[in-house]
């Protein structure tokens, strides 16, 4: 489903972010990308959603060759993916309901479907009573749950989470990880980039470990080991 083939990413003046990286992720997998800050986890994600282009190599997502997509092809491609970021990236002028609905609205889904689905998904992430709240009226954990609801509402094939617990306390971290596991159990592939040892060890799933832009370990039931 997701294939990285000999991918390198060099930034002029800032060195190497990724060097000759290859791996494959199959449908339904829950994969953690582990590594220290600057190991290349976020670069993998940026390349995967077409926010950056590789200096060398190819990135595949289903039938798409992501590195070859033109700017105007990116929106339609991104509707196959749900993305969750460390800084939540919610639209500040929209309330929880509208933020989640937005993912369906951009896909041109009918209003009736939106009215039906959004409350269900917000209920599922435990925010059924905060639909009218704006991001600045929510806690960090609640904001991240809105972001997850937005990422999953259009039933994407993959959910990519880039350090989703980076700004959260241990209690909310555990909540978010449980939520991601639940989404995975429903059949959605999950790619989780994190440097949180506790999170990775508690999952007992596949772990791809990156260091200095290279894959140094890829284990089916991995642990957080950097050396």
């Amino acid at each position: 489903m997701i294939v990285f083939q000999g991918v390198s990413k060099h930034y002029s003046g800032h060195g190497v972010a990724l060097e000759d990286t290859s791996f494959q992720i199959d449908p339904g997998e829950f994969v953690s990308l582990a590594g220290r800050s600057g190991a290349g986890k976020s670069t993998v994600i940026k390349l995967l959603i077409g926010e950056e282009r590789p200096s060398k190599g190819r990135v595949f997502f289903g039938q798409y060759e992501v590195n070859k997509l033109r700017d105007n092809e990116l929106p339609a491609f991104r509707r196959h993916i749900g993305v969750v970021f460390q800084d939540f990236r919610l639209l500040p002028n929209k309330n929880s309901y509208e933020n989640v609905a937005f993912a369906l609205e951009v896909a041109g889904r009918p209003q009736r479907e939106i009215d039906e689905l959004v409350p269900q998904v917000l209920d599922m992430v435990g925010l059924g009573d905060k639909m009218k709240n704006f991001p600045n009226e929510l806690s960090g954990g609640e904001r991240q749950r809105v972001a997850i609801a937005r990422a999953m509402i259009h039933r994407p094939e993959v959910i990519i989470a880039d350090e989703p617990t980076g700004n959260l306390d241990p209690f909310h971290t555990f909540e978010i990880v449980k939520l991601l596991e639940k989404i995975n159990q429903l059949g959605t592939t999950v790619v989780l980039a994190t440097h949180d040892k506790e999170v990775i060890n508690s999952l007992e799933r596949r772990v791809i470990t990156l260091d200095k832009g290279r894959v140094i370990r890829d284990e089916k039931k991995g642990k957080y080991i950097l050396v």
């Binding site: 950056e52 700017d71 991104r78 919610l90 639209l91 500040p92 002028n93 609205e105 951009v106 009918p110």
Partner: protein
């Protein structure tokens, strides 16, 4: 398609209200720029009136020998009216000239007495000629100076007033050209101010644009609401600009009338208010939406 358009409109209206302060600041700047644009239209009216009032003061008179018959003068008047440069030709007969002279000097007993003692009317009949454009008096003068008319004509005022006429013609031309240059320059400044204000407004939304892109919003769905906001900003600013300029015009009008007799600025404004408002609306809406369209463009990559 209809769903997308209605969502674009819906998002635009919502953003407009929720970005209250940003909308207010943008509308204030746009209103000021539109006041400049409306001011320029009124400035055009004033310069045109000023030029017309100067132009109105220029004419040439041709005085005929007392031996020239009225029929001959009327023939010449007809031939002059056939010239493309001529706007109007007024005939002043010898009797009319005398009557005007007497009327003008009715309070001067010496002159009245002298006129009454004369047996014959010493004044000459004349034709008063106005050209369509002040620069064309030379050509009219050339026509009147032709040898076949020489036996009828005593004098032509152009020869005496040539310098003054040319100077006035230059002033008229300069006022008109200068007016245009000032208008174009200030309209450009107003346009740039609006564009940059909207650019700043969009710049403050660049993160949101990035988020919309990541969620999979198409370019038109990202850009559309900003264009709708631009339309609203422009439309509202147009309304405000007309509301502000109306009383200003009312108070300024009498003062301008003192400088340029015959100019009633407020009356012009009042009778053309719908047309002026439509100009403002068009300028505001076009520049508002186009500025938004261009300003968002740079954030639509990746």
């Amino acid at each position: 398609m209809f769903t997308i358009i209605s969502r674009i409109f819906h998002f635009g209206v919502k953003n407009f209200w929720r970005n209250g302060w940003l909308s207010t600041a943008t509308i204030v700047i746009m209103t000021l720029s539109l006041i400049v644009s409306l001011g320029l239209i009124m400035f055009g009216v004033v310069t045109r009136a000023a030029a017309d009032s100067i132009q109105d003061k220029i004419d040439i008179s041709v005085y005929f020998n007392t031996t020239t018959s009225e029929d001959e003068i009327l023939n010449i008047q007809q031939s002059l009216e056939g010239l493309s440069q001529v706007q109007s030709v007024d005939y002043i007969s010898r009797d009319q000239a005398l009557a005007t002279f007497q009327q003008n000097h009715a309070n001067d007993p010496v002159i009245s007495q002298v006129v009454n003692e004369l047996d014959t009317n010493p004044l000459e009949a004349s034709l008063n000629i106005k050209a369509k454009d002040p620069s064309q008096y030379g050509a009219i003068n050339d026509y009147l100076s032709s040898p076949n008319l020489a036996s009828y004509i005593d004098s032509i005022s152009y020869t005496q007033n040539q310098d003054v006429i040319n100077r006035l013609a230059t002033i008229v031309r300069d006022v008109e050209t200068g007016g245009w240059l000032v208008t174009i320059f200030l309209a450009l400044v107003a346009g740039l101010v609006v564009y940059n204000t909207i650019r700043l407004a969009i710049y403050s939304n660049r993160d949101e644009i990035g988020i919309m892109r990541v969620v999979g919003a198409s370019n038109s769905l990202v850009r559309g609401p900003y264009v709708v906001e631009g339309l609203f900003w422009g439309g509202i600013a147009a309304v405000f600009s007309v509301i502000i300029v109306t009383p200003a015009c009312y108070f300024l009008s009498p003062y301008l009338n003192e400088f340029i007799p015959g100019l009633n600025l407020f009356q012009y404004f009042y009778t053309h208010i719908l047309q002026l408002f439509l100009y403002q609306l068009l300028f505001g809406v076009v520049i508002g939406s186009l500025s938004s369209f261009w300003a968002v463009r740079r954030y639509l990559k990746n």
